[in-house]
Amino acid sequence: MMTIENKIVFDIKNLDLFYGNFKALKSISLPIYEKEVTALIGPSGCGKSTFLRTLNRMNDLIENCKIEGDIEYHEENIYKTGIDIIGLRTKVGMVFQKPNPFPMSIFDNITYGPRCQGIKDKAVLNEIVRTSLEQAALWEEVKDRLKESALSLSGGQQQRLCIARTIAMKPEVILMDEPTSALDPVATAKIEDLVVELKKNYTIIIVTHNMQQAARISDKTAFFLMGEVIEYGDTSHIFSTPDHKKTEEYITGRFG
């Protein structure tokens, strides 16, 4: 049934995660494949966003968060001591639920990441801004107003700007945490088209509450429930003939 497998980017093995005494993730094991869209679905509080944040170690910012097990990124455990977290985050970018551009110009938003890495050359930065905005399908809309505040953009434009800002770091993986939940249907459609387009160059892992969205844009789907992965596999398979009853119930809207 499975198609020819791409290279594995992330290999998660027996991952447990605790918030204090609460076990939020229970022995998660799954591979993430290169240049595919992997959708994480499941009811609220099932641990899918928590899982997403473990992949670029954004969980480090939460107090009392403890992790057991391995997450291998290109066969290197990203939780071993001495790992370059900043290097990891430049390779594994993240787009958040609520569009969160910095209160500065569009240009400065895109160049913020590269500048933090020490890139100062104006020509290089200009090029980064253009290619990032082009890839995020925002260039035509904002090319004449790069010096304007990013907050003057609409919500959908802001979210595409956040994607462009992530692309500017030339990452390999883009993590998306419910990127369309704060947007209207038109803006959502644009982001979905963009995700399908970006798949050619990037590995994308997307958390979503929208079943149709997962079915439309993802290649693989993981169904989370109470901190466990109930089912993981090809999206077409999961949405047509799921192996587990719980998966079927959730997808058909009987709970969640």
Binding site: N56, M58, L61, E63, I86, G87, R89, T90, G93, M94, F96, K98, N100, P101, F102, P103, Y112, G113, C116, Q117, L151, C162, R165, T166, M169
Partner: protein
Amino acid sequence: MSMLNKRKVNDGILQGITYGASFFSLFVLLAIIGFVFVNGVHLLNWDLITHNYTAVSFIADLKEGTGPGNYETDQVFAEGTYYSDKWGIALADDTNVQGKNVVLVVYVNPQSPFASLHDKGISTVPIPLEKDYEIIRIAFDGASSALSVQGAQNMITILDGQNSFRELEFSTSGGGIRGSIITTMYLIFFTLIIALPIGIGSAIYLNEYAPNNKFTRLIRLLIETLTGVPSIIYGLMGLAIFVPITIQLTDATGGNIISGSMTMAVILLPIIIRTTEESLKVVPDDYRYASLSLGASKTQTTFKIVLPNAFSGILTATLLAIGRIIGESAALVFAIGTTIKDTVKITDKSASLAVHIWAMMTDEPANIELSTTIAIIILFIVLTLNISIKLISKGMMRKFGANA
């Protein structure tokens, strides 16, 4: 029905009490401001701000070979100004910045003997009588002296009847607060230079870096407590610690502006730390996450994203601090001293505006009028600062509101 009426009455009484309380506070505040204005506003003028505090007195007589003549002038004088053709000076009655009646020099003809007088003091250099000097008395041989209390017209009349005089006593006009304004500015400058980096640094540590544990909570509790310590205790500490330190390190011999600034900085630290921390807290975590997820380090995130967005809060902290520096007196009495100075030196005793008031009110007799005039100036500055704070925080709300 009676139940309803009873409730109505109770509600009415309680409402009445709250109305009464707020009107009472308003009345008290207005009464204070009214008192200050009624007493002080007539002395409010530009001379007060630009003049020296100390009046310099001179005693002089005629230089050899000079004397009365005919010094007519084309100058037109206002009513109440009296000109002597014989001596070439014009005098008028006036009140000086301290509110005392004086005889003021309005004009001195350049050819007049008064334009260059013989100093009866130690100096051998001729001294001029100049415009705006105050004449205290003129003494003559064989005639009674002309005193300032008798007025300008009387002085000119007596002068016109004489061909020479034995002694002229005059002084520059004093009572100004120029030196105290300069001291206050120095104090603001040095206090902020010390307090802002330390205060903002502490706030950044507490809000961005400090782990949420018992030790951090203890530090916060201590800082909160420090806000409530009476400033006179800080003044004692300044006298016991900062004054000796500055005496060791500089040519200071007692309380000075530097030790005063250090003391003020300690007083302000809790305020600056708290206000800055509040403004750091308002910066949405979304910005921090976005920055970190873009591969920025914690330090880059703090200084490039968090701090610029907290700028208006830090500005508010600074303005609050300036207001406090201008208003503080008790601590400064110990840490700088109460000597009102015209030539301000940062390693010397001096008095800020608030201490200037304190010094004048402990004088014998207390000068309530001039004190209230200075109070008007202080009130004006504090009011301006507070309005600026209001405007800035409004701007801050709008900025983050746009993103919410």
